[in-house]
Every structure is written in structure tokens, then in C-alpha cells.
């Protein structure tokens, strides 16, 4: 143990490299698609090319006689046993939702919906046979536009009688958390400032690195499901509920999972179909989606229209905010689809002291892929709206955007602070984060440069964007979830197992899919129990091992699961104390534990943790009443949400000749409380920033007027790579959370929530002298150029036209290939 001297004093706070990375990066690990079982069969899905249609017949005979095919199942075949996919968050008592079969029976409501599954000896044979399934459709008119859907003229589900799923309101006057918003707006119209804007949250696709994959083994007493998911515990519960299989007969394993971003917070039709196919054939089956299928039918994110009214006094003190949302559910309600906009309801007031607030949300169905959680889920939408509005208010008042924010934000001495949305922010310091960000950014210097460029009419203009965000994460106090009509709780569970040889097994109910839990959980245990970092093994993702848990999403794992871990470790120590006292022939009250040693107070007598563990294991000489184990577990229900915040500053250059926008500088100073591992935090922030910047500049799921996903491959869904980003400057201020022992706040979504408005604010700031006050996201060069060209007129220029006619024209699962137009398919590729 010569390395001991090199160890950090405490593991918590050390920039440990991630212990899981070697296997994750090399891929020499258990990804679901790597699993091979004896006798395993393979699935291929047949998906509807139409956005809205009635199925009038399916001829599976050619597919069934295709080589290697064991079975072809249609919705008709399984309609009595497949149940309906579940929605766990009916936000209102009268929420409407269509039945959502895993395999469509007689009606398809989006292009990509599964209409049949082929089970075959190889993936190739399954795919070949899937091409031979002949489905007759009667096309129905699709409703694709959110505002059209609100009119109920064309229905996504005619049997529902309406496109409206639910209406949800928060009103500060009604809740007793503030005044009536309409009065504030009326007063501002008379003698103040009213800012009215409508912003579009475009539809996005959570493009995780590992496509979704599921293996189901029906042999043995328990049905075993391996699945690339964020939520193995949910998959177990909902497999039981949807298919009527006893939960005790189901084991779900999320092996190593390659990213999720909310996109794997789902119980999917494919998971249900894998179970159906495995039980039908009695064989293990595997299904791994293609990237095209992933983009088409994995759930999408965002997609809202936001109508916003901000009332303020003439000096820029906000007096009220009214939010009217239209939120696109897509064709069905997934696990938490309906609640996503509601997660934003408490965040539109952000870091500010608004006296009146109202949030109205209408959830609507369209004939598109259903939406659900995507990194930030509800809070990016809210943050975007308010941070854009604060810039608009600053422009209206004629002051710097930072000044208008300072005038309205909660001062650091005012924490804890209960907001107009009824949330109590435990700690924070917006002044400190902003001051540090300003300094790192050289805010004043860049403002000077901006003025110089304006003065000399430089074709490349500079814009500075601000986003002083906060968010609510660490999902979630069960009582709040109950009040919001969510089906489950928000607690988390941890077990600490003290192995006889001195090693420690930590079992967590969270389900990492790239975050680095194994490293951080090891750091926490190393400090708590005084064992080497390397001696801690973190187990997760298998419902037979981690039997209790509520998985990973909503930046919850550390602040909820980490706290459960701390509590379990404390219980190990408390359990060990009488053992140590017995070994040391001392009174329990005289035993103290530190640095891995149990010591008798005031003496140099002591026993190492490993010795106590071994004695408990051998249990040759235990006094009566002492259990021969030191293992302990804990379930923790958070007392409140976690409220990280930060100041993000972005400088964008806008080439006014082409509309091209490029990032010049990005600085963020995040306050996420105490930091367990700065390297992991930096990684989370960098990744989050890029994902948020991508919403601002690059990504959009676009459908044509038939409901075909046009951006159905990475040719047209322009996901950025490292080549498209700059080096970010990140730093932290620390206001420890007061609601968990670690003093930590969630960081998984922070960057993604904060960065989008910072970027768009910067682009708009560059163009504001031309009279431009909005560019719709993503701020494509064409949109920017057209805004410049039509500046001063009301003419709105939308991006139009189809995708580039490359090889995805008429891609499978979309419109049927048209031989006359798919020239690319005919092109020789020498």
C-alpha cells in the first residue's frame, strides 16, 4: 500500500478519473446488444409508413414462409394479451388518452408505429421477412401542427373526440403564493411595460449513443429482461402491470447503458413485444433498433408553443408573468409525457421575485412520435422563455441585461426563499456566480468590442447573451409527486454490504448510463467508511440485486441516491460499534469511528473496520443480541427538490452576409453546492452545454405535411460533434444545499437548461440594432439571414422545403420508396 501517501486527504472533492470508463470506452462490456443466449431468436419490427391510417388487413403469409422465420405477430394476434402501454402521470382527473397498444391493432397514429413483429433465427432473416409483411392501410388525414391540433378540426385519434388531453393550471392568486396576474398585466398596460412574445420550442430527438436494445429470456422460473434503459425498476413494474405477469416473476437488468438523456426513461412497446415474442416462441429473443428506428420511434422531446406576457414597472421591476403553453404529446402518452410541461410550471419565475404568476398548459395530441422526457424536461422550456423575456425587458427599459436581472433576482441574504410558484429555494448566491462569470468572460471588454463592430458596420457582428438560470431537480419528494398526481414516489435506496475480505459492495437503486456513479459512490464510501476507493464495488441496474430503486433521471442520483448511501453507511458504522466495543472490551458509548478505525475514546486502542467486519463474519464470539452482519440499507425520501443555479454568458459572432452564427466565447459559473468530483461535474456541464447549444443552433425534428419524419437520419438531424463546439470556460461557486448531508445539488441537466437561452440571447443581441428581437430555434443561417433581410418588415420567413435528397429520401419506415424519385438509391457508388 505504498500508494497511500499519494491519496487525496478526502476522496470527496477529488478529481478521480472514472473507474468505469475503460470498459465503457473500449466497449468490452455488457451492452445489451452484446448478449448472446443459447437458442436466441431475433426480432424485426414492421412499422407504419403513414402518420395516420386505419389498418384494413395484414398479409403475413409471405413473411411466415421466408427462410428462418418462426413467427410473425400482428396486433390482431396479441390484442387480448398485450394490454396497453402505461402513462404514469395523469396530470388531471379528466385527462384523456388513447389506448396505446404495443402493436397497433386497427389504427396507427404516427409514422413509425409498430404493426407487426417478425421472429427469426437471425437478425438478417427477420429483417428480410419484415419486408414481406403486406399491410393494407386506409389513410386518414393527419394532424401535425400544434396550433391546428388545438382547433380540433382534424383529430389525431377520432375515437377520442378531441385532441386535447388535459389542461393544467397554476395560479399564484389561487395558490396563495402571489397576487392575481391579470391585474398586474392590466396595471402595466396602463403605466408600465408589457412584453408579449411567442416562442417556439422545437421538437428534438434524444440521440443517445447506444440505440435501444432489449433481450428477453423466458426460460427458467423468472422472465429475464435485459434492456438499454434508464429505468429497470420501472420496466419491471410496468411489465407486470401491462402484461399481467406477477412482478415477482420478472427480473429486469439494465447492463451498461450508453446514454439516455431522458430518451431511455420509458417503458417501450419494443420491450413489451420482446416479452410477447419470447413467450410465444419459448425462446430468448433480441431486438436492437437501427439508428433510423431510434430517431423515428424513440420518444422525442420539447415541442411547445409558449405565449408569454410579462408585466413590469417602467424601471424594469417585474410585476407579473403569465404563461400559456400548447404542449405536443405526439400520438400517445408515454410514461411521463403528460407531466413534462408541468415540470416547467414551477420554473418560469426562475431566480426572480415575481409578485404574480400564472401558468396555463394545454396538452395536445398530434400524429407524430410521442414526446416525453429529454434532458431538462420542462425546465429548459421555462428557462428559455424567462431568460429570453428578461433580455427583452432589458432592451425595452434600455439597460444592460445583467442589470435587469439583478434588479429582480433573489438576494443571497434572502435564502431560503419561497417563490411565487411555491418552491422554497434552500440556498444560492446569484451575485457571486454572476460576478465571477462577468470577470472570466471579460463582459465589459466584449461589450466595448460589440460597440466598435456596430460603429464600423462590421459584416460580422457580435452579440452577448445572458442566462442566469436555476432549476428544480433531484426528483423528488414523494409528497409533491403525489400532489401532482404522479403514480410513483421519489425516494431512493442504497445498501452497503461489508464483505469478509474487507471489500465493500454498494448496491444503489439508481441506474447509471454514463454518469459515473460507480466512481462517485466509491468516493463517498471511501470517505465514510475509511476504505480504499478501489475496494468499493458499485452494483446497480439488476432488479434481483438492486431490488429497491427508482432509477436515474431528473438529476436525482446523487442528491437522492447519494443521500440514501450516506445514511446506509452511517448505519453500517452504528451497527459495527457494538462489535468493535466487544472486540475492544469497551463500552459502546466510548467507541468513536474515524479514518476507518474504531477507537476507544481517550486511548490508542482501536480496531480497523476490516477486523470488525471479519469478526462479525466469523461470529465465533458474538455477544447475545448482536447480528453477525454489518450490512445496512437505507431508503431516503428527499425533503425537497434541489435548486442548482448559475450564470452563463455567451458571445456569438453573426456573419450578416451569410447568416452564419459562430460561438466566440462561452463562460459558465454554476453553483451546484458541494462538488463530489470536479472532473465528472465538468464533464456533465460540457455535455449539457453542447446539448443545449444544439437546441439553439442545430437540432430540429422536422416532419413534412404527410407526417413523415424528414430529419430521420443524422444527415438531416444535425447533431453537433466536437468539431462544432469551442472550449468552454467553466467554474463554480459553492452554496451548499441545506437539504442533504452531502450539501450537493444536481448537475446532470444544468448545462442543457442554461445554455439554450444564452446562445439565442447572444444571436438576438447581435442583431437587435436592426430591429430584430427573435430568431426561431434552431437559429439556422438561413433563418438569421432572412431575419436580417426582412428586418423592419413583418414578413416571417420560415425554413421550408424537404431534406436534402440524399440517401434517406424514402428511408425505410418512412414513406414507401418511390422508384421514380429515389435517384440516390440508383446512383452507382464506385
Amino acid at each position: 500500500m505504498t500508494a497511500v501517501e499519494d491519496r487525496p486527504k478526502t476522496e470527496i472533492g477529488a478529481a478521480r478519473k472514472r473507474k468505469e470508463d475503460q470498459r465503457l470506452i473500449t466497449g468490452r462490456t455488457k451492452w445489451t446488444d452484446n448478449i448472446q443466449l443459447p437458442g436466441m431468436r431475433h426480432l424485426a419490427m414492421v412499422r407504419s409508413p403513414f402518420a395516420h391510417a386505419t389498418i384494413t388487413g395484414i398479409d403475413t403469409s409471405a413473411a411466415k414462409s421466408s427462410p428462418g422465420v418462426l413467427a410473425v405477430l400482428t396486433g390482431e394476434d396479441v390484442k387480448d394479451i398485450q394490454g396497453g402501454m402505461a402513462n404514469a402521470w395523469p396530470i388531471t382527473e379528466d385527462q384523456k388518452a388513447p389506448v396505446h397498444p404495443a402493436i397497433a391493432v386497427d389504427h396507427v397514429a404516427f409514422a413509425g408505429e409498430i404493426v407487426a413483429v417478425v421472429v427469426a433465427r437471425s437478425a438478417a432473416a427477420a429483417r428480410d421477412a419484415a419486408e414481406l409483411v403486406d399491410v393494407d392501410y386506409d389513410e386518414l388525414p393527419p394532424v401535425l401542427d400544434l396550433k391546428e391540433a388545438a382547433k380540433d378540426a382534424v383529430l389525431a385519434h377520432p375515437s377520442l373526440g378531441t385532441n386535447k388531453s388535459a389542461f393544467w393550471q397554476f395560479d399564484s392568486a389561487g395558490a396563495g403564493t402571489g397576487g392575481p396576474v391579470d391585474e398586474a398585466i392590466e396595471k402595466a398596460r396602463a403605466d408600465g411595460i408589457v412584453i408579449e412574445r411567442e416562442y417556439r420550442q422545437q421538437r428534438l430527438i434524444p440521440a443517445f449513443m447506444e440505440p435501444r436494445s432489449v433481450v428477453c429470456d423466458p426460460t427458467g422460473e423468472q422472465l429475464t429482461i435485459w434492456t438499454a434503459t434508464q429505468v429497470p425498476h420501472f420496466v419491471r413494474i410496468f411489465t407486470a402491470l401491462v402484461l399481467g405477469i406477477p412482478e415477482s416473476k420478472i427480473r429486469v437488468i439494465a447492463p451498461d447503458v450508453g446514454g439516455g438523456f431522458g430518451g431511455k426513461l420509458q417503458h417501450t412497446p419494443e420491450e413489451v413485444i420482446a416479452v410477447l415474442a419470447a413467450r410465444h416462441t419459448g425462446k430468448p429473443v433480441k431486438y436492437t433498433e437501427t439508428r433510423s428506428e431510434s430517431l423515428l420511434s424513440g420518444h422525442h422531446g420539447r415541442d411547445q408553443w409558449q405565449k408569454l406576457t410579462l408585466a413590469a414597472t417602467k424601471d424594469g421591476t417585474v410585476t407579473g408573468l403569465k404563461v400559456d403553453l400548447l404542449a405536443d404529446m405526439g400520438a400517445y402518452l408515454g410514461l411521463v409525457t403528460s407531466g413534462i410541461p408541468v415540470l416547467g410550471a414551477f420554473m418560469f419565475n426562475a431566480i426572480y421575485k415575481f409578485p404574480a404568476y400564472q401558468f396555463n398548459c394545454t396538452n395536445l395530441f398530434t400524429n407524430k412520435t410521442w414526446t416525453d422526457a429529454y434532458r431538462g424536461a420542462g425546465r429548459p422550456e421555462a428557462t428559455y422563455a424567462i431568460e429570453r423575456l428578461m433580455d427583452e425587458l432589458a432592451a425595452e427599459v434600455g439597460v444592460d441585461p445583467l442589470e435587469i436581472r439583478e434588479k429582480n433576482w433573489i438576494k443571497h441574504e434572502e435564502f431560503p426563499f419561497t417563490t411565487v410558484a411555491g418552491m422554497t429555494y434552500d440556498s444560492g448566491n446569484y451575485e457571486a456566480a454572476t460576478a465571477r462569470a462577468r470577470e472570466l468572460f471579460d463582459y465589459d471588454g466584449l461589450r466595448r468590442e460589440q460597440q466598435e463592430r456596430r460603429d464600423r458596420k462590421d459584416p460580422v457582428q457580435l452579440g452577448l447573451g445572458v442566462s442566469t438560470f436555476t432549476e428544480m431537480c433531484g426528483l423528488a419528494p414523494s409528497r409533491v409527486l403525489g400532489a401532482l398526481r404522479y403514480a410513483a414516489g421519489g425516494w431512493e435506496h442504497a445498501t452497503v454490504r461489508m464483505l469478509p475480505t474487507g471489500k465493500v459492495e454498494v448496491v444503489t437503486g439508481t441506474s447509471p448510463h454514463g454518469q459515473g456513479h460507480e466512481t462517485v459512490w466509491s468516493q463517498i464510501i471511501a470517505d465514510k467508511l475509511g476504505v480504499p476507493f478501489e475496494d468499493v464495488e458499485v452494483l446497480h441496474g439488476d432488479t434481483q440485486i438492486a431490488n429497491r430503486g427508482l432509477d436515474t433521471y431528473g438529476s436525482r442520483s446523487l442528491v437522492v441516491g447519494g443521500q440514501a448511501l450516506v445514511m446506509a453507511a452511517d448505519r453500517v458504522i452504528e451497527k459495527a460499534k457494538p462489535h468493535a466495543a466487544h472486540l475492544l472490551e469497551a463500552s459502546v458509548d466510548d467507541i468513536e469511528f474515524s479514518g476507518g478505525q474504531f477507537k476507544v475514546k481517550g486511548t490508542d486502542k482501536g480496531k480497523a473496520m476490516a477486523e470488525v467486519v471479519w469478526a462479525a463474519f466469523s461470529s465465533h464470539d458474538l455477544p447475545e443480541g448482536l447480528e453477525p452482519t454489518l450490512d445496512a440499507d437505507a431508503t431516503y425520501d428527499p425533503v425537497d427538490f434541489s435548486f442548482p443555479h448559475g450564470t452563463h454568458l455567451c458571445a456569438m459572432e453573426v456573419d450578416t452576409e451569410t447568416g452564419q452564427v459562430s460561438m466566440r466565447k462561452y463562460v459558465c459559473v454554476d453553483d451546484i453546492g458541494n462538488i463530489m468530483n470536479p472532473l465528472i461535474v465538468e464533464g456533465q456541464v460540457h455535455g449539457g452545454l453542447v446539448q443545449g447549444i444544439a437546441q439553439a443552433l442545430w437540432e430540429e425534428a422536422v416532419y413534412d405535411d404527410q407526417g413523415t419524419l424528414v430529419s430521420g437520419s443524422f444527415v438531416d438531424y444535425t447533431l453537433p460533434t466536437a468539431a462544432d463546439t469551442i472550449s468552454f470556460v467553466t467554474d463554480n461557486t459553492v452554496s451548499p444545499s441545506t437539504t442533504n448531508d452531502l450539501g450537493a445539488k444536481g448537475v446532470g441537466e444544468a448545462g442543457c437548461i442554461a445554455s439554450t437561452p444564452a446562445v439565442v440571447n447572444a444571436v438576438v443581441d447581435a442583431l437587435r440594432p436592426m430591429g430584430i428581437n427573435d430568431i426561431q430555434m434552431p437559429c439556422t443561417p438561413e433563418r438569421v439571414w432572412k431575419a436580417i433581410r426582412s428586418a423592419g418588415s413583418d414578413q416571417a420567413d420560415a425554413t421550408t422545403g424537404d431534406a436534402q435528397p440524399h440517401f434517406d429520401a424514402g428511408a425505410p419506415n418512412q414513406a414507401p420508396p418511390d422508384p421514380s424519385s429515389s435517384a440516390s438509391a440508383e446512383g452507382a457508388d464506385q
Binding site: 428480410d128 439508428r291 444527415v715 424537404d802 436534402q804 435528397p805 440524399h806 440517401f807 446512383g827 457508388d829
Partner: protein
């Protein structure tokens, strides 16, 4: 992403490849680097009976000096062309363009010949090959023929290479001492060109003596902006002079409209990018 079943032939000589093609008949596809063909097959947009893979034909790889020409074997990868001093020195605009192709993985697999025969108008090698007045060597059962670049691109994904024939080499007249620039306009780095302009110019005494300009993705084939080339001759290599000469860069073009921009926007981009490319190529 599993293609439909096909027969696979991997000849080791051009002669064998030609007979394999003849034998396979009209339902064969030729594969070079596979960077466009494989996605097409995997998405089942095409299902040829036979794929003839040229990957093992050594005689089709490499760059050589043939006096006043640089000759690039059709199966030379982008990465190998990038590494070639010959190309950099005598056909710099091609190097410039290839630096902008996709990403390193694709540049190590994809070939110049494959890209030319695939003839995607948004691909990056067509415009520089056109601008450099290259000749394309096409080999068929009857022997070799040479097609000038101006006659090579017929339409969207259609070239002068006929059934049973192969593109075997690209012969580029040396443009030694010419300045060059490929201005590629994209939203994300790995994207196909929204519009791109290949410019190579010869400057004498501060004035443009000769200019060659190729346009990427401004129509169903790569295009040559000959009017601009002529207008530039004798012009001083200055912002104002070049701006005026390049104003007509988009005239007569018929670019596509898609998610990245409509035709009018592309026409606007073409004029801006042509000016920038020419100025950069002229060292201004």
C-alpha cells in the same frame, strides 16, 4: 441496418473487375470506399444482386506524376490524396476541398473516384475536379476512354460512366503556382455542403490572370461559373473588383430547396462564397 442478401465479388485487377461486372449483368453495383453505397444498401433503398468491390485492386490506388499532369487512381482514399504533396502543389483546390469532406473516418474509407461516380451534387470533389479541367479515365470492355470533366457529370447521381465500365483515374493538368480556396458552407462540420465554391486563380502583378471556379450543390451536378471566371480576368485582386465580378456567380443555377435553405438563399450564398473563395485564392 442489415442489407438484403447479395453476392459479393472482390477482384484484384481492373480486368477481373470488368469481367465480374460483365458477368453480373445489369443488377450489379460497384463499391469503392462504400461510404455512400453501404448506407443505401443497409437502409434497403437498393438491393443489387451483386456487389463488385474494387477495394483489393492495388493498381487503382495512388497518386503519380505524369509530366504536366497529376494522375490520381480512382480508388485513392481522401486521406491519401490529402497526404499527397503532388496534389497539394499542383491541384491545391482539390486538397482544400478534401480537407472539408465529412470526418476523419470517412476520409480514410471514402475514395475520390467513388465520390465522383456517385455524383452527389453536394459532394465536395466534383467542383474542384471541374474547376481544374481534369480528365476522367473510364475503362470498359472495349478499353480506355478519356472524358473531360465538363462532360462527365450528366445529372443527379448520373455520370458518363456507363454500365459495365469503371472510372479508373483522374488526370489533372498541373495548376502549379495557382492560389486556391474551397469555401464550404455548412451548419455542422460533418455535413454535406449546403453550398460550396472551389476557386483557383493565377495572379500576375496583383491582377487575376486566370480563374477557375466550380460550384457545389447549386444544381443537379457540380457547375462551372464560367461567366465569373471571364469577368475576373484582368481584375485587380481587391475586394471591390472581385465583388463585382462575382455578383453573377449564381446566374443560371438551379439549386435545391431543403431543410438547410431554399434556392434563393443558396444563390445568395453562392455569390458571397465565390467572392470569398476568389479573394482567398488570390491571397488578398
Amino acid at each position: 441496418m442489415i442489407p438484403a442478401r447479395f453476392d459479393y465479388v472482390a477482384p484484384t485487377s481492373v480486368a477481373d473487375a470488368l469481367s465480374a461486372l460483365a458477368e453480373a449483368g445489369d443488377d450489379a453495383k460497384v463499391m469503392a470506399g462504400g461510404q455512400s453505397l453501404l448506407p443505401i444498401l443497409r437502409m434497403r433503398l437498393n438491393a443489387p444482386e451483386t456487389v463488385v468491390d474494387l477495394g483489393r485492386i492495388e493498381e487503382l490506388r495512388g497518386v503519380r506524376d505524369e509530366g504536366d499532369h497529376v494522375v490520381i487512381g480512382a480508388m485513392t482514399t481522401y486521406a491519401d490524396v490529402l497526404a499527397s504533396d503532388l496534389v497539394r502543389q499542383h491541384a491545391g483546390v482539390l486538397t482544400d476541398a478534401i480537407e472539408e469532406v465529412a470526418d476523419p473516418q470517412i476520409r480514410h474509407r471514402g475514395t475520390v473516384g467513388g465520390a465522383l461516380v456517385h455524383a452527389d451534387p453536394a459532394g465536395d470533389v466534383g467542383a474542384p475536379v471541374l474547376a481544374l479541367d481534369a480528365e476522367l479515365v473510364v475503362t470498359g470492355p472495349g478499353g480506355e476512354r478519356t472524358v473531360p470533366a465538363a462532360e462527365f457529370f450528366r445529372d443527379l447521381f448520373e455520370t458518363a460512366v456507363g454500365e459495365g465500365e469503371l472510372l479508373t483515374a483522374i488526370r489533372i493538368p498541373k495548376h502549379t503556382g495557382w492560389g486556391s480556396r474551397y469555401e464550404k458552407f455548412v451548419r455542422v462540420a460533418h455535413q454535406w455542403s449546403i453550398v460550396a465554391v472551389a476557386a483557383t486563380v493565377r495572379v500576375e502583378g496583383g491582377a487575376i490572370a486566370e480563374a477557375r471556379i466550380g460550384l457545389t450543390n447549386m444544381g443537379s451536378t457540380p457547375l462551372r461559373a464560367t461567366a465569373v471566371e471571364q469577368a475576373l480576368v484582368g481584375k485587380a485582386a481587391t475586394e471591390d473588383a472581385v465583388r463585382e465580378a462575382c455578383a453573377a456567380a449564381a446566374e443560371g443555377t438551379n439549386p435545391p430547396s431543403d431543410l438547410n435553405g431554399d434556392a434563393d438563399y443558396r444563390k445568395h450564398l453562392a455569390t458571397v462564397l465565390t467572392r470569398r473563395a476568389v479573394l482567398a485564392a488570390a491571397g488578398a
